[in-house]
C-alpha cells in the first residue's frame, strides 16, 4: 500500500480512531495494530507477511537466548546465528542474482562460458529496513543495552506500518518504551503531523515525480541524446528528486506515527546545506548513518586504531552502505566515493591538528564555498547511484564535459523552478516553519480541514498522473 493513494487514506481513516479507542487497553491495541500492519504489508503481497512473521520469531527467540545465556561464548554463538540468519535472508532476496551475474561475468572473462538461469526472485518491499531493525534489536540485547521484550511487543516494533517499508530505521530502545507509555488522546501534536504529511506529499508527488518524468529519466535513459546543460541539470534534478522522494516518504511516515501517538527520530536535516561530506552524513538518512556508525563502523574499530585503520573502516562502512542501497557495482562506487571523501576530510583534519594550523574560517563566503563544493561532490556521486551501469554514468559525465552550446529543450523554467524550490526549501529558517505551525494550530478543526483540502488540490493537480513508487522501496 502506498501512502499517497486513496486506498491508504481509507485504511488510515479506519485505523486511526480504532487505535485511539483501544489505546487504554494495551493488549488489545497491540493485537489490532499488528493486524493492521500485516494487512498494510500484505496488501502488496500477502505471502511476504510470512517473511515478517518468520523474522519476528527468529530474532525474538534468539534475542531471548542471548539474554538468558551467562557464557560469553554461547552468547556470541547465538548472536552469530541471529546475524547470519538475517543476512542470509537479505542476501537471498536482494543479492542472489547480483552475485550470480557478477560471478558469471568473472568466469566468462576467464574464458569459461557460463549462462546460469536467473531466478525470478521478488524483492520483498522494505526487507533492508526491517532486517536492520531486527539486527539492531539482537545486537542491543547482546550488548545488554536493551532488555528482551514480549513477543507481541517485538512483533509490533518490527512491523509497525508507518515505518515498515522505508524507514526511518527506528531502534528498539526508541520505540519499545513508547509502547509502555500512556498516550493521552487529548494531546496529539496534530499540527506538526499534518505539516509533515502534506509537505511530504508535496515533495513526493509534485517535486520528485515531476523532475523524474520531465528530465531525469529521459536524460539518464539516453544521455548521448541530450546537451551538456541537460545532462548537468538532470544530475542536479536527480539530487533534488531523490531528496524529495525519500525525505517526503519519511516525513509522511513520521507524521502518521505522530497521529497515532508515536515519535520517530528525524531522518533528514536540510542535507544540501552541508559544508562537508561528514556534515552531509549527519543530515542525510540520519537513522541509517547512525545504524552504520553504531553497528558497523564502531565495531570495526572506528577511529581508535590509527589513521590507516580509520580510513579502512570508513571505506568499508561506506562501501557496504552503498551495497545496502542496491545490488549493483554502481552503488559500491557511490559508497566508495563518499568513503574516499570522508577519509580525505579526516586526513585533512588530522593534518591540520598535527601542524597546529588554525580552524578553517567560518565566514559566510567560506561556508557558501564549502556548501557548493560539498553539494557538487554529492551530485557527482549521485550519478553512479542513479545510472544503470558504469557506461551510463560515464556517458552522463562525458556529455557534461563536452556537449555545451547545443539546444536544451528539457531545461524548462518549470524544471529549474522545481530544482530551485527543492534546494531553496532547505534554507527556510526553522523558526519560520514553527511560526506557521503555531498559527495553523490555532485554526478550528474545520478551518484546518479546509486548508488541508486545498493543499490536496494543489498536490493532486500539480503532480503528474499516476504515483511512481518511492525510490527507497527497492532498497
Amino acid at each position: 500500500m502506498l501512502f499517497p493513494t486513496i486506498t491508504f487514506a481509507i485504511f488510515f481513516m479506519v485505523v486511526l480512531p480504532i487505535s485511539w479507542l483501544l489505546m487504554p487497553r494495551p493488549a488489545r491495541w497491540k493485537i489490532f495494530i499488528l493486524a493492521a500492519s500485516y494487512f498494510f504489508y500484505g496488501y502488496w503481497n500477502s505471502t511476504f507477511v510470512l517473511l515478517i512473521v518468520a523474522s519476528t520469531l527468529w530474532n525474538w527467540t534468539l534475542g531471548g537466548a542471548i539474554w538468558r545465556s551467562q557464557s560469553d561464548t554461547i552468547r556470541r554463538t547465538w548472536l552469530a546465528i541471529a546475524v547470519t540468519g538475517n543476512l542470509a535472508v537479505l542476501g537471498y532476496f536482494k543479492y542472489y542474482n547480483f552475485f550470480l551475474s557478477s560471478a558469471t561475468n568473472l568466469l566468462n572473462r576467464t574464458g569459461l562460458d557460463v549462462s546460469p538461469t536467473i531466478v525470478a526472485i521478488t524483492l520483498p518491499v522494505g526487507i533492508s529496513f526491517f532486517t536492520f531493525q531486527a539486527l539492531s534489536y539482537v545486537i542491543d540485547v547482546y550488548r545488554r543495552e536493551t532488555e528482551p521484550v514480549r513477543l507481541m511487543e517485538f512483533a509490533v516494533y518490527l512491523s509497525f506500518f508507518p515505518q515498515l517499508v522505508a524507514g526511518p530505521i527506528v531502534r528498539a530502545s526508541e520505540f519499545l518504551p513508547q509502547l509502555r507509555e500512556h498516550h493521552d488522546p487529548r494531546r496529539i501534536d496534530a499540527t506538526r503531523a499534518f505539516f509533515l504529511i502534506f509537505l511530504g506529499l508535496f515533495k513526493k508527488v509534485v517535486i520528485a515525480n515531476f523532475l523524474a518524468t520531465e528530465i531525469v529519466d529521459p536524460v539518464f535513459g539516453s544521455p548521448d541524446q541530450y546537451s551538456a546543460l541537460e545532462n548537468a541539470v538532470a544530475v542536479y534534478g536527480f539530487a533534488v528528486q531523490i531528496y524529495a522522494d525519500f525525505s517526503g516518504y519519511t516525513d509522511i511516515a513520521i507524521g502518521i506515527a505522530l497521529l497515532l501517538g508515536f515519535r520517530f527520530p528525524q531522518n533528514f536535516d536540510a542535507p544540501y546545506t552541508s559544508t562537508s561530506i561528514q556534515d552531509f552524513w549527519r543530515r542525510w538518512h540520519m537513522t541509517l548513518s547512525r545504524w552504520l556508525r553504531d553497528y558497523l563502523y564502531v565495531p570495526l574499530g572506528g577511529n581508535r586504531n590509527g589513521a590507516t585503520a580509520t580510513y579502512r573502516n570508513l571505506m568499508l562502512t561506506m562501501v557496504l552502505g552503498g551495497l545496502w542501497h542496491g545490488a549493483a557495482w554502481t552503488f559500491v562506487v557511490w559508497g566508495a566515493i563518499h568513503g574516499g571523501f570522508l577519509s580525505f576530510e579526516h586526513w585533512r583534519r588530522q593534518n591540520r591538528l598535527v601542524r597546529g594550523a588554525p580552524e578553517p574560517s567560518d565566514t559566510l563566503w567560506a561556508r557558501t564555498r564549502r556548501r557548493i563544493i560539498t553539494f557538487n561532490i554529492v551530485c557527482f556521486a549521485w550519478v553512479f547511484f542513479r545510472a544503470d551501469s558504469f557506461q551510463n554514468a560515464f556517458d552522463v559525465l562525458s556529455r557534461i564535459v563536452g556537449g555545451w552550446g547545443e539546444p536544451s529543450p528539457l531545461v524548462t523554467r518549470s524544471v529549474l523552478a522545481a530544482i530551485a524550490i527543492g534546494l531553496g526549501a532547505q534554507y527556510i529558517p526553522k523558526d519560520a516553519m514553527g511560526r506557521a505551525m503555531a498559527l495553523f494550530s490555532r485554526f478550528s478543526p474545520v478551518a484546518q480541514g479546509v486548508t488541508l483540502g486545498f493543499g490536496l488540490l494543489l498536490i493532486d493537480s500539480l503532480g503528474p498522473r499516476g504515483i511512481a513508487p518511492f525510490i527507497y522501496f527497492q532498497f
Binding site: 549462462s115 496534530a190 535513459g221 514553527g434 484546518q448 490536496l456 493537480s461
Partner: protein
C-alpha cells in the same frame, strides 16, 4: 501503558508554541480535508477509479467517484483544478476519451501480403532533411527506445522528435486508462513525425473495455481477436497516413511462456497480419526470435564477442541494457530496409558528359 504522559515539551518560543489537539478534532480535520480534497479533485479521482483493474474494487470506486464528480461539477468545485491544469499546460488531462477508430482503408480479412519490407522505392533522407522519428509505447518501449535514439542519431539522417514517450501499464485493451489513439493523434498534430516506432501490446492480454458492445472478455477468443484486430487496424490507419510510416515492435518471448502463448502470441499475430495489409505504411518488427534461444526463453545470450550477457531483468519481461540494444538493432534493421538513411553518405555521382 501506565507510566506518566511524556508529551514532547512545547517549544520555548511562545510564537512557535503549538496547540495540541484531541483525537476527535484530528479525525474531524482529516474528514473535512479528505472530503474537500475529493470534491476539488473529483475529475482526477474519477479517472483514477476508471483505470483500476476490472473487478469489484473498480466497481466500488466508481460507485463513489461518479456521484462525487457530479456534485463537484454542479457546484463548480472542479473549476480550480481545471484552471491549475490549464495554467501548467496540462488542460484536458482528466478527460476520459474511450473512442477508438476502426480501420478505414481495408476490410478485415486475410493479409494481402506477408512481406514486411517496402515493395516500393525507399524514401531517402539526408542530414539536411532528416527522418523525424517518434519513439514510444508501453513500459517495454522505454529501454529499447533509449537504445534506439542514439542509433537513429548515428545514421546522420534521422532525428528523434523528443524523448521516449513511454506510458507504463498502457495498451489498447483499456482506453480509459490511456487512449493511444487520441495520444498519437496529438503526437502527429504536434510533431508531425515522418515515422513512429511503437511498442504496445504487453498489457493487452486482458478483457477489452469500451468495445462497441461493452467489454469483450476471453483473451484469444474469436470475439476478442476481432475487437483487438479492429483496434490495431484502426490505430494503424489513423497514424500511417500522409506518407507517415509506422514501425510496430512485437512482444518478445517472456519467462512465463504460458502467458506468451495464452495472449501475446495472438496479439503478435494480429499486429503482424494487420501490418502486412498495409505494405509500405506499417512494418512489423519481430522481436521474439532475436531474444530467444531456439525459440525458448533465455536470460543470457552471447554478445558480439561470444560471451554470455544478461538480456532480461529479474521479472522475465523487461530488458537489461544489453537486451534493449538487441531490440533496438532489430528495429534499426527494419527501418533501414524500409527507409534510405545511408545513401546520403555516397559521393555524388558524376554526370556523364556527352561527346560530340
Amino acid at each position: 501503558m501506565t507510566s506518566p504522559t511524556r508529551t514532547p515539551p512545547p517549544p520555548a518560543n511562545p510564537r512557535t508554541r503549538r496547540r495540541l489537539s484531541p483525537a476527535g478534532n484530528v479525525l474531524l480535520t482529516l474528514f473535512v480535508a479528505l472530503g474537500i480534497g475529493w470534491l476539488l479533485n473529483a475529475p482526477g479521482i474519477l479517472k483514477t477509479a476508471e483505470g483500476l483493474p476490472l473487478g469489484w474494487r473498480r466497481d466500488v470506486a466508481l460507485g463513489f467517484s461518479k456521484p462525487v464528480a457530479k456534485v463537484s461539477s454542479i457546484l463548480q468545485l472542479d473549476r480550480p483544478r481545471e484552471v491549475i491544469q490549464r495554467l501548467t499546460d496540462r488542460g484536458g488531462e482528466d478527460d476520459v476519451t474511450v473512442a477508438l477508430p476502426s480501420p478505414t482503408t481495408l476490410p478485415p480479412g486475410e493479409p494481402t501480403t506477408t512481406t514486411t519490407t517496402n515493395p516500393n522505392q525507399e524514401p531517402r533522407f539526408t542530414p539536411e532533411t532528416p527522418l523525424r522519428v517518434w519513439v514510444g509505447g508501453d513500459s517495454l518501449s522505454i529501454t529499447p527506445g533509449e537504445s534506439l535514439l542514439p542509433r537513429l542519431d548515428g545514421t546522420g539522417a534521422a532525428t528523434a522528435v523528443g524523448p521516449v514517450d513511454g506510458h507504463v501499464s498502457s495498451g489498447l485493451a483499456r482506453p480509459e486508462i490511456f487512449n493511444w489513439s487520441q495520444h498519437l493523434d496529438e503526437v502527429v498534430a504536434t510533431h508531425d513525425p515522418d515515422a513512429l516506432v511503437l511498442t504496445i501490446g504487453s498489457n493487452d492480454d486482458q478483457p477489452l473495455t469500451n468495445a462497441p458492445d461493452g467489454t469483450v472478455g476471453g483473451v484469444g477468443s474469436d470475439a476478442w481477436k476481432e475487437e483487438y484486430r479492429r483496434r490495431v487496424g484502426g490505430l494503424m490507419d489513423s497514424v500511417a497516413t500522409d506518407g507517415r510510416v509506422l514501425f510496430w515492435a512485437g512482444i518478445p518471448i517472456v519467462r512465463d511462456t504460458d502467458r506468451y502463448f495464452r495472449g501475446y502470441e495472438h496479439i503478435n499475430q494480429i499486429v503482424f497480419e494487420e501490418a502486412a495489409k498495409r505494405p509500405g505504411r506499417v512494418y512489423y518488427v519481430e522481436t521474439y526470435t532475436p531474444l530467444s534461444d531456439n525459440g525458448g526463453y533465455v536470460d543470457y545470450l552471447p554478445d558480439p564477442s561470444g560471451a554470455p550477457v544478461q538480456i532480461r531483468t529479474g521479472d522475465g519481461i523487461h530488458f537489461t541494457r544489453a537486451g534493449a540494444n538487441i531490440v533496438a538493432d532489430t528495429i534499426m534493421e527494419i527501418v533501414n530496409e524500409a527507409i534510405d538513411l545511408e545513401s546520403w553518405r555516397d559521393p555524388p555521382k558524376q554526370q556523364p558528359t556527352s561527346e560530340r
